[in-house]
Amino acid sequence: MTMNVTKKALGVAVVAALSAGVSTAAMARETIQMAGSSTVLPFASIVAEEFGNTYSQFNTPVVGSGGSGGGLRQFCQGVGENTIDIANASRAIRSGEVANCNENGVNDILEVMFGYDGIVFASRIDREEFALMPEHVFKAAAAQISQDGQLIDNPYTRWNEVDSSLPDQEIVLVIPASNHGTREVFEEKVIHPGCESIAEIEGDACNNLRGDGRIVEIAGDYTETLARLDAQADAVGVFGLSFYDQNRDRLQVATVDGVTPSLETIGSGEYPVSRPLFFYVKGEHLDVIPGLAEYTEFFLNEMVSGYGSPLEDAGLIPMDDEERASALEQFQARTVVNPE
């Protein structure tokens, strides 16, 4: 039948078009592709743009998101042009992730640390000010606390029940979900120190947060946290310093251990809740994707990520010259992350 012939021809045409697409895709990719932490994304995007504007011979790199964990998972999928070249991470790579990478043939994982970020607690500007201690946050967030030497389910519903110095506001804490590197820092730098004050709870049990709706986990980015605060006036949210900094007209920041977070207090280490930021370069791609090494070295340039740089304006806490030099040296020596 004519119809069948037409359809066959059509089918052949579609398959031909598809395979043509596949074979062109096998041509060398010329643009650096990265993915990962949404904390690092603004910084990486700014560097990518400046890089594209400065070097006319290279394309502007493409920066995807997906959280530190998501980025590293993509990064470890293998070597080849349909895998990403750089994973941005707001925490160091875990040994399990290195093992996963190695299994898939990604052996040359080059770690580049490029600065610090502070994590702040902020509430709506029209509510009361908070002066938090890690202990307060733990007591407000934990599933169980101790009372008279016994573990009981968390009874607190208002901040002033946790500590009389805190405002008389409903406890609602908006924290990043576990796909974010920020969550790990929140647990390590706030929850665990707060947990130490209670002898009965140890180790992993510290991470048990209450499940009665007073802890809201956000898998998206900070604008979602901000929207939560718009909806629930009493909520206290966990933000990156740079996000808070660009929305100071809506948010007020809480002190932790009596220290107000700022570039200075975080840079000096006085403010306790901060963390280094990283990106991981796939060594196998260095000679394949044009500009990968140049991008990394450009990133570590003082003009880009040092004091007075566009990244500092965007809220990054820069490393000092010595740290930056050693990061650059480590990259240039192609120091590979060890799998343990």
């Binding site: 059509l10 895709a25 993915a35 990518a48 594209g52 011979q57 995807g64 604008t223």
Partner: protein, 452 residues
Amino acid sequence: MSITIEQRRQHRLMTIEKSLAKRHRQEKRFRRTGLAAVVTGMTLVAILFVSILIRGVPAFWQATIFVDVYFDPDVIQLEEKPQKVSGESQSAFEERYAAWQSQAGLVNWQALIDSALEDAIGDEVESRQLRDLRALVSSSERFALRNRFVEDPSLLGQTVELKMLASANVDVWIKGNIDRNLDDSRQQLSAQTRAWADQLYDDGIIKNAFSTALFLNTDSRSSPASAGLAGAFMGSLFMMMVVIMLSVPLGVASAIYLEEFAPKNRLTDLIEININNLAAVPSIVFGLLGASIFIGYLGLPLSAPLVGGLVLTLMTLPTIIIATRASLRSIPPSIRQAALGIGASRVQTVFHHVLPLALPGILTGSILGVAQALGETAPLLLIGMNAFVANVPGTPLEQSTALPVQIYLWQGNELRNFFEARTSAAIIVLLGLMLSLNALAIWLRKKFETRW
């Protein structure tokens, strides 16, 4: 006989009369409920549109600085732009040209902007105030200045009136999108920058000009003021081309075969059920499928409009097949019988008689399917199209975003005061595109509609 016929009639009439009032009430109630439903729906749509328009329309105009820029030869110390000399090979010339371009990149273009702004303000600007001064203008302007000079080196020594984008925070300040009464520590701009911005605005040097950047530029994070939709628009265009080229022929062909030629048996029943089920599959599932098959197995690139188009094709196919079948079914059997009666073959019947009549319905279905694909976001997030891309894609294989994804990305930008309006503006652009596609569908249907 105690009950006469007349009495029975009376009785019947009374029953009818009694129930009549009740039935009228029922009808009224139904009409009122229907009307209320329509009014509620329309009000909600109106609220949505009005709120988007109120927030988005101002973003089409953007604070822009009009200043005279002097291309100072003392600052631009650059050799002459290389010209191709005879006997020189193309590659040697290109190398020379690239070297010259890198030289041009090292010129302190910001200094030209600084002195132009200083002149406009009319005051001496001390070096410690330089940061405040630079906060006025979008940081992308120094590259724009460089590109302008590289294109036309004869500007050296001349003074040209240029249009420069003010920085995003200046735009926010001038439009009053941030509370102007907040104290210094809560403002994004320093007191000095704010004072200068107000002064320049009063002098008419900063104006709210129509934002061409919104349409001509790609997304930007280092200079948010210049963020635009060009890259996302091209990405969406490429995707729609792929969708139209694949899903329309495939969908229409399958629908014709299933409707006109395929035998009616359990197999075709099964196929029909599956097509209907496919139309109900959440779009994100197609994204997962696309990520594992097109990218993982076939090795197509990440973030490419080709992959996006393929995924959206899968999503659009069932819609088009169903619409086409419905429109084929609505052609009266008499047309087919007449054609067969005068000796046409089945293929001739379908292609010469049925298909032309069904065309308006097929077109409408296809356009609505494509419009739906244009607005789809979820599957694109899974194939890496939610990346930050600062290039305009030249082919469907280059990395790109799409319009709805760009809206999602701007919605998540940390500079809320600026991007809330920008996001609404992008929504207006996307809605405009969708409405024009729908209008096209209606127009085509009206134009080719046949009545019998």
